[in-house]
Every structure is written in C-alpha cells, then in structure tokens.
Symmetry: C2
Subunit: 157 residues, 2 copies
Amino acid sequence: MPTPDRTAAKEKFMAFLEEKNLRITTQRRAIVDTVFGTDQHFTAEQLLEWARERDESVSRATVYRTLPLLTESGLVHEMDFGKDYKIYDPNYADHPNHNHIICDDCDKIVEFESDKLDELENEISHKLGFSVKSQQLRINASCEEMKKLGECKNKDH
Amino acid sequence: MPTPDRTAAKEKFMAFLEEKNLRITTQRRAIVDTVFGTDQHFTAEQLLEWARERDESVSRATVYRTLPLLTESGLVHEMDFGKDYKIYDPNYADHPNHNHIICDDCDKIVEFESDKLDELENEISHKLGFSVKSQQLRINASCEEMKKLGECKNKDH
DNA sequence: CAGTCAATCGAGACCGAGTCTCATTATCAA
DNA sequence: TTGATAATGAGACTCGGTCTCGATTGACTG
C-alpha cells in the first residue's frame, strides 16, 4: 500500500465531522488514515483489514458506519459494478467526473473522463424527464491482455 | 400482469433447451410461460411468486437455476442497478441494444436507445484496450415527477 | 481535572439475495 | 417399460451488509 500525502483530504473530513457535531474517535482516525493513505480502490472488507493493522480495535461495524460518512463528505466515491460487494475510490475529490470500465474476467478497473459522454448523457436524461444525480457508465469488457492470455482470472495487470 | 403473445420467444427457449440436451419439465414450463407472459421487468422473487400461481410446486431453487438459462439463451436480459437484487427484462430479444435510466428515489426505469452513445462507448473502450462484451449506462437520476412531488418513494408512475 | 452524558464503540445476532447439497422424482431415448 | 441421469424441493448455508444493546469514551462544563 503506497502512502500518499493526502493530508488535505484528511483535514477536510475532520472538518466535516466537526461541522456535523460528530466525534473524532481513535477508530475513525485509524480508518481515515487508512483511506487517505492509499491510492487504490478498496472494498469494505479490505478497509477493515488495513485499518486493523493500525488499530486492532477497529470493528467491522465501525467501518460500515464510517463509509457512508466518507461518501457523504464527497471525498470518497462509492461504486457498484454488479459484483456482490461495493468498491470505494479514495481519490475522488481530485477527479470527480470520471467513468469506469471494468473487465468482467479479471476485475481490472480503468478510469476515464469524457466531456462528450457527459454531455450526451445529460442530453438524453433531460429529454426523458430525468435530472442526472450521478452517472456511471459501466462497460463490461474483456481487456486486451486477457484476449492474449486466453484467460486472466485475478491476474495482476 | 398483461399476457402478450410471446409464443416465438417461448419456442426459441424450448429449442435452446433441446439443443443443450436439457429437459423440458413442468416447472420450467411454468416459469417460461410466466416470463414470456409479461412485458414487465421483474426480480427473481417476483418470478417465483408469479410462477407459483401457475404451478405451486415451483421452488426458489428452480427459479434461480432457470434464470441463467434464460439469460444465456439471449431472450431475457439481466440488469443490476446497484440495488441488492437483480432485475430481468423478458422483452430483450425485441430491442437488444437499449440502455436504462433509473430514478434513485422511486425505482422507475426508463429504456432508451442511442446509436451515438453506443459508438462513443465503443470508441472509448477500444482506445483503452478493452473489447466491449456488454455495456450498461446507468444514470442514477431524479425523475421530473419526483421533483414536483418533492418525494416519490415507491410511487406508481 | 473530575463529572456528565450523548455519541460511539465492539460483539455478535440478524437480514436477505442467492447458492449448494442431497435424497427423491421425472424425463426421455432405447 | 425401463434405465441412466437430469432435475427437482427443502432447507442448510454463504456472504455482504445492518441492527441491537450494554459498555465505553470524547468533548464540553465547571
């Protein structure tokens, strides 16, 4: 796990807690340090494991209680790719309008931005009487590497 | 539940079963009659309930075993909108390239087609080294009706 | 620095969609 | 009809996630 300096994000979240009159506990600190100490996407279970390395008293319940606060603050992005778990992106504040492509076979996720796509989505939504809250283009695909290998289940790309 | 005449779809599925040396059982008949006897999207649990009205011996396990066969045959489309259940579209063969917008608040689903969107998706995927297997644009949005009402949880649109 | 008390905690029961097992039943080709 | 075996139902099980409840603790007060 890399340890980028996302002090700004961490401080923003602490301010978010204070603003909502929520307490800064040792467990929340451990979770927040973990979240903003990585660049990687992660699942709730991964976060639990990593946070416990910093403070073994962190419980599953607290992780699941803290995750909604992190997404509500806008600093972490929650994604659902139709697998049976959700994926979280701790790097969201830096590039808030990105979409994702996921490889059905090896779970590789690639992020991209496209103004053209955003425009088209907004146009269609408006025409149909919706106002876009969030959009998620999910392209289930096979990545090139996989086509070469024939099979790439859980391979490290 | 409307009862459209989707005899063609039903026969195609029976042919699909035969081709794979799978048996045509009374339970499968009940399930298939149910699926192709409606235009509506449905969940696995709804299908179980409806199929049991035709044949009370149909079990949950058989419904869950038959659904993958229906999607594999290409006659029914499985969708995942990030809720904790999947949604099935029995009308898929008639319009196979459509996308969906879902209202986060009232679960209303609207289908639409857009060649421009399909092209853009393919272009982006290719550029990033993926070959598209299936694509699903999921726009989580609020529908107009809801904005007017202020709140529309589970309202019938 | 002690006192207060609601916010927060951990453990584990619980939930619900979906899967799996296994003994029994039913399909269908011969 | 019969035999091989696909398919069945009941219910145990899995697993991500939620909820409950009694114990703990952060943060403010004096």
